[in-house]
Symmetry: C2
Subunit: 179 residues, 2 copies
């Protein structure tokens, strides 16, 4: 078979039969690339002394900025498994999830972000995973507000603070002034 490694797909937009929206269809092979919003799962995880786990990004976008352990959900997992996996991959952190802190939508980039409140079970052995330059446990006062990677990190931290000490609460959605 001819090698196709150097061929790029070429997409045109058209409305497939039985559909009501334009989709990307490859002019080379006819493949319909349905695009759907992507799910990001993440956590505001605290150590027993109340410090919050942050990760310094080793990759773009926003390399060098601080974020919560979070990332794209993969096939075949639950949202809870995804949030724990991301914390392990980015910070070698073992989490016990408490409850859903917030469900954010970022329609500009078609993301849904599920943020959990969580307990960090191994605060003494966290370490930067391959996608992190550094990991840190910070008090509320020491959060590097001007060096946060994404608006949703800012939202989640503030929403976390808002229900501090409450054992159950209604999850937040986008703040009124949010996207």
């Amino acid at each position: 078979m001819m090698s196709t490694d150097n061929l790029d797909p070429e997409f045109d937009t058209k409305i497939p039969d039985g559909d009501d929206r334009e989709r990307n269809v490859c002019t080379r092979c006819g493949f319909i690339a349905y695009e759907n919003p992507k799910v990001v799962t993440g956590s505001v995880a605290t150590s027993p002394d109340g410090r919050i786990l942050l990760c310094k990004r080793a990759i773009e976008p926003r390399k060098g900025f601080w974020t919560l352990p979070a990332g794209y959900m993969e096939l075949g997992e639950t949202v809870e498994q995804s949030a724990r996996r991301e914390a392990w991959e980015e910070a070698r952190a073992e989490l016990e999830l408490d409850q859903v802190l917030a469900l954010y939508s970022v329609p500009r980039i078609s993301q849904v972000q599920v943020m959990f409140r969580a307990r960090l079970m191994n605060p003494d052995t966290i370490a930067a995973g391959p996608e992190s330059e550094d990991v840190s446990l910070v008090t509320w006062e020491d959060i590097p507000w001007t060096e946060l990677a994404f608006p949703t990190v800012y939202w989640a931290l503030n929403h976390f603070k808002e229900i501090e000490g409450e054992t159950s609460f209604v999850p937040f959605s986008n703040p009124q002034d949010g996207v």
Copy 2:
């Protein structure tokens, strides 16, 4: 340009450079078809007299079975907009969303389902949309339990009943005996 309408894409699985998982790569054009879990949004919506909105499916899968107004989230919308759009498309129903009732994961088919509790604002003018054979407002006693389309419909109805009358509550996730 050669017509490609009758060519199907042919996918092989391989791990792209810089990735750590097998992805589907088209052997004809090299396109990497990243697959991510899909988000379904839906609602348990009640009329002022407490009856629940159900839709009889006009399409496969589970044609002829009853479901909640729900469907795949599209690009560029929020989860709330998506839930309201689906209710309109399937039942010409105008909803006011209350709060997130449940966040279910169905890893076997890589779905995340966001189910809202909602108020049906136009109970007298609901009507079957193109994907519904029929729509109905049913009391709890009249729910057609043996003719429900999907397990998550069953879960959502029971979880809805569990917090009936409560103005705020912690959202449910999969029941213990769920997938």
